[in-house]
């Protein structure tokens, strides 16, 4: 397939970003439909690229700086591209029908999509940085303009953390290119074969860890996250938590594990420790929260911890787990916030003490709460839902390398059930407030985005290959450590795994671009 399809993936949101503000009417529903159309088109193109892989695109842009428009899809970026397109579509559809200033809002949503998409498609580090930086502008504006009461503080903090993240990333990438003994070059191929002194590698990895760690985020770099997730409008959080934060995960995998394997391996115990710490810290904080959004922010933090643990371990299985976790968490966090958004739209609050009895069959929000329950169960790693294969792979893949950190994360993951049950018990059961419960039930058009995510969460749980099959080959090639007992001793042990790495081998070629 022609490489222009890759360009189309970027042109669609770009066109949307530029054209939406020029629309004559400001009917929110119409603007939303147009924005959704752009996102849907992008998703469609993404799916086409999956069925038939397009060749890489290579256009010189500013050659003097080493900046080239190099786009490509591999097993790592393809699932993320699809996830981003899907979540953008779902997030846009989750916006209320009376969205204020719709043209600007949806334009910025598509601009965010453009940045994230560009970063995932980039085969050039500078292009990646550029796209990465681009994301910051629309997201900050989205938080600052449409956020809740404390949006100003949230936006400023988000911007500061984001700017530091971007700058350290830029510094890291520039250093990478400049210090490369083989000559200046920012293409991924150049970086992959770079020749760097060990101390340069350490400095660069430190900068990259800071940059991507802030984006994920990971303890102790998470300062912006609870506030932003608490204040940003729901569609924005869905995009932030589901797609934008995955830039960090992708970056760590691509740059850290991929381009700086030696230093990564050397530092991985510390990275694993940070992951485990995040998992525990996120889970414990989630238990203590009295606001659903903040609870979910901390929950998300905890799950990012698992992801980092898997990246640190860097075994074939754990890297597959990391990719699976990226996808599963993207779906789950988007679903969680879609449900929270519906609850907030109806009840006007996300404060846990103020809510109860929402499972009430006639006057509550039983459908939404049903989906919320499913999402919480998925987050808690209940088998049959998307969270389970991802977490199983993460733990299975990591424990041979970092048994202690894995054990700690495992326990932290158990806490997920604690806050999930606690949240659901408070919000779902109990007495429905007679004075407040006069809202209407959710309409199917409002439920549709969440319902789509629900089906995907169930589908990915029943057919985990959907989470792992994409990148099985890529992650195996990236793996820094082997797991002899898993891969050498033939089908016996592997066949027992629910995640079915053996079967994916058969499926993978189909999923992978040739």
């Amino acid at each position: 397939m022609a490489p222009s399809f890759l360009l189309l993936l970027l042109l669609l949101p770009l066109a949307g970003t530029l054209l939406l503000p020029l629309l004559p009417g400001a009917d929110p529903v119409r603007v939303r439909s147009l924005a959704a159309l752009a996102a849907a088109g992008q998703l469609l193109v993404g799916l086409l690229c999956w069925r038939q892989a397009p060749a890489d695109l290579h256009l010189p842009w500013v050659p003097k700086l080493g900046l080239e428009l190099e786009l490509g899809l591999d097993g790592l970026s393809l699932p993320l591209v699809l996830l981003t397109a899907l979540l953008t579509l779902v997030a846009i559809l989750s916006a209320p029908a009376d969205q204020s200033r719709p043209r600007l809002f949806f334009s910025l949503m598509l601009a965010t999509n453009l940045g994230v998409m560009g970063a995932f498609l980039a085969r050039n580090a500078l292009l990646f940085v550029l796209a990465f930086e681009l994301v910051l502008i629309p997201t900050t504006l989205l938080v600052a303009i449409w956020g809740r009461e404390r949006r100003a503080g949230a936006a400023i903090r988000f911007l500061l953390f984001g700017a530091v993240s971007g700058l350290s990333l830029l510094a890291g990438v520039l250093a990478f290119g400049w210090l490369n003994a083989k000559g200046l070059g920012f293409g991924f191929d150049d970086l992959a074969q770079a020749d760097l002194s060990p101390s340069a590698q350490r400095w660069i990895l430190a900068l990259l860890l800071l940059g991507f760690g802030l984006k994920l985020p990971i303890v102790p770099l998470h300062g912006w996250q609870p506030l932003t997730y608490g204040q940003a409008p729901t569609p924005v959080v869905m995009l932030l938590g589901g797609a934008v934060s995955k830039l960090g995960a992708y970056g760590l995998l691509r740059f850290g594990v991929g381009f700086l394997p030696d230093t990564w391996a050397a530092w991985s115990p510390w990275i694993a420790a940070a992951g485990a710490l995040s998992a525990v810290y996120g889970a414990l904080n989630a238990i203590a929260q009295s606001d659903i959004r903040r609870l979910m922010a901390y929950s998300s933090l905890g799950h990012m911890g698992l992801l980092v643990l898997a990246l640190a371990a860097a075994t074939p299985l754990s890297l597959q787990g990391a990719v699976a976790q990226i996808l599963a968490h993207g779906l789950i966090v988007a679903l969680l916030f879609a449900c929270v958004g519906l609850i907030e739209r109806r009840t006007g609050t996300t404060s846990i003490p103020e809510l109860s009895g929402l499972l009430n069959p006639l006057r509550g929000l039983p459908f939404t709460l049903g989906m919320l329950l499913l999402a919480l169960m998925a987050a808690a790693g209940i088998p049959g839902l998307a969270g389970f294969p991802a977490e199983l792979l993460v733990f299975e893949g990591s424990w041979t390398v970092f048994p202690r950190a894995t054990l700690v994360s495992l326990i932290a993951s158990g806490f997920t059930a604690v806050y999930a049950v606690r949240l659901f018990n408070r919000v779902g059961f109990g007495r429905l407030d007679n004075d407040r419960a006069h809202w209407q039930s959710t309409r199917w058009s409002e439920r549709a985005p969440a319902l789509l995510l629900t089906l995907l969460v169930i589908g990915a749980g029943l057919w985990p290959t959907a989470l792992t099959g994409w990148s099985e080959a890529t992650t195996r090639s990236l793996a820094l450590r082997s797991q002899p007992f898993l891969y050498a001793s033939a089908p016996l042990t592997t066949a027992a795994l629910t995640a079915t790495p053996l079967t994916t081998v058969a499926v993978a070629p189909e999923l992978l671009p040739s």
């Binding site: 009895g357 009430n360 069959p361 006639l362 006057r363 109990g430 007495r431 429905l432 007679n434 419960a437 006069h438 209407q440 039930s441």
Partner: protein, 436 residues
């Protein structure tokens, strides 16, 4: 949308006693002026009459089946078919309706109501054998009626002599004869009776309350039908009219005997004979109102109560889980008796109520709750009627000129309103039309 609360009738002359300082002073003054606890608005009138009608139809089934259970099913150890009253009981002429009745003040016919028969034949689904209707739960929910009976059985001491009689030797002997006669061909059950006589006696007591409730509702059904008819003819001017109609009804049948007869092989066993002098008012109506409107017991499945933390009163008299206190919103949840009643009434709503519900809240989606709230309003009106009837029977006319008499009335009303001081009471909520 706020509907103004009906103003308290302004006394034209200087009042003989100072205004009440009670928290529900507004309601008390309304009661003293001959009003109801429910504000007098056209919508309230429409709501309560409509729901009386919807209540009366299933009630016409309840009382027939309750009597069938108490008199015919009796101690059947496997009463799988107790909700299938025989044709004889479906045709049983109502003692207070129809031309054969002793007291012809309500116009309805003595037979089962046509809407009831139609529903029994078709249900929500379609014509099919009644066993299938039963299993599909497309039927009148007798479980609700039994829950009311159990509330009466369980709370027991609520005035009247009924419960004392159940503890007497005379009752024990009557029950003993009936039990032995019922199981005369069943040595196993007779043996069990020898071993556990109290268990069988307790069961008969439950059946006596079943008869009691059946006889109570036999009267209420024609009263409610009559009210609906009068309203349809444009009869009632306001909520107080509807209440006064109920007060008169209560007096008219106050002396109706309450008894428990069991028919075993065609022979009538008078377990509680009519000659004991038990009356509808003292032994059925007042205990019913107390047990069902005020007390009942917490329903399973809606809220957890921790008895050790004092969340359930230690004293049964302080129980406050009846319709006057009920949170109607959980209606629709599984396993709570009011859901069953609301479901029953839903089938017989007059068109004007359906129309009303369609216009509010979630329209048809949450009709069960809306009609539950309506039911709550209507039961506040019935309770008002009971309070006014008691006031008329035991105290003084509202237009009495003796200040001491008026103060006695005031104390009585205030004592009644004290029961609505607890936060669960819905008296405050029903003052506003916004509570739906």
């Amino acid at each position: 949308m706020t509907t103004p609360i009906a103003p308290v009738a302004e006394p034209t002359t200087t009042p003989l006693i100072p205004p009440s300082q009670h928290r529900w002073a507004e309601v008390i003054h309304r009661l003293e002026a001959g009003g109801s606890m429910l504000p007098d608005t056209p919508e309230n009138l429409m709501q309560i009459i409509g729901i009386y009608k919807a209540y009366a139809v299933p009630m016409d089934f309840y009382w027939r089946d309750l009597l069938y259970i108490a008199e015919q099913v009796f101690l059947d150890p496997l009463p799988a078919f107790k909700y299938f009253p025989s044709q004889e009981y479906l045709d049983l002429p109502n003692s207070y309706a129809g031309d054969q009745s002793q007291l012809r003040i309500w116009r309805g016919g003595e037979k089962a109501h046509p809407e009831l028969l139609e529903f029994m034949a078709k249900g929500e689904t379609t014509q099919m054998p009644k066993l299938l209707h039963h299993l599909w739960h497309d039927r009148i929910n007798m479980e609700f009626a039994e829950a009311c009976m159990q509330a009466m059985l369980w709370h027991q001491n609520m005035g009247g002599r009924f419960n004392d009689y159940l503890a007497s030797d005379a009752y024990r002997n009557n029950a003993d004869r009936a039990i032995k006669a019922y199981f005369k061909r069943n040595p196993v059950m007779l043996g069990l009776y020898k071993l556990f006589p109290e268990m069988f006696l307790e069961k008969v007591k439950q059946l006596s309350y079943t008869a009691n409730l059946g006889l109570f509702w036999e009267v209420m059904a024609p009263v409610f039908f009559e009210m609906s008819d009068i309203y349809d003819e444009g009869g009632f001017k306001g909520v107080p009219d509807a209440m006064d109609f109920l007060v008169n009804g209560i007096f008219a049948v106050a002396g109706r005997p309450i008894y428990h007869h069991a028919f075993i092989d065609g022979e009538c066993f008078e377990i509680i004979p009519k000659s004991e002098g038990f009356t509808w008012l003292y032994e059925a109506a007042l205990p019913y109102v107390e047990a069902v409107f005020y007390r009942t017991s917490p329903f399973r499945g809606t809220k957890s109560y921790n008895a050790q933390a004092g969340q359930v009163p230690a004293d049964q008299a302080d129980f406050h889980y009846g319709i006057l206190y009920a949170d109607v919103f959980p209606v629709g949840s599984a396993g709570i008796p009011p859901t069953l009643l609301m479901q029953d009434m839903l089938h017989f709503l007059p068109s004007y109520l359906k129309e009303l519900y369609r216009k509010h809240e979630r329209g048809e989606e949450d009709q069960l709750i809306q009609l539950g709230v309506t039911f709550q309003r209507s039961m506040y009106n019935v309770t008002s009627a009971v309070i006014q009837a008691l006031r008329a029977a035991l105290l003084y006319p509202l237009d009495d000129t003796d200040p001491e008499h008026l103060l006695a009335n005031r104390r009585f009303f205030e004592a009644q309103m004290d029961r609505f001081l607890r936060p669960e009471a819905r008296l405050g909520a029903i003052q506003s039309q916004d509570y739906r």
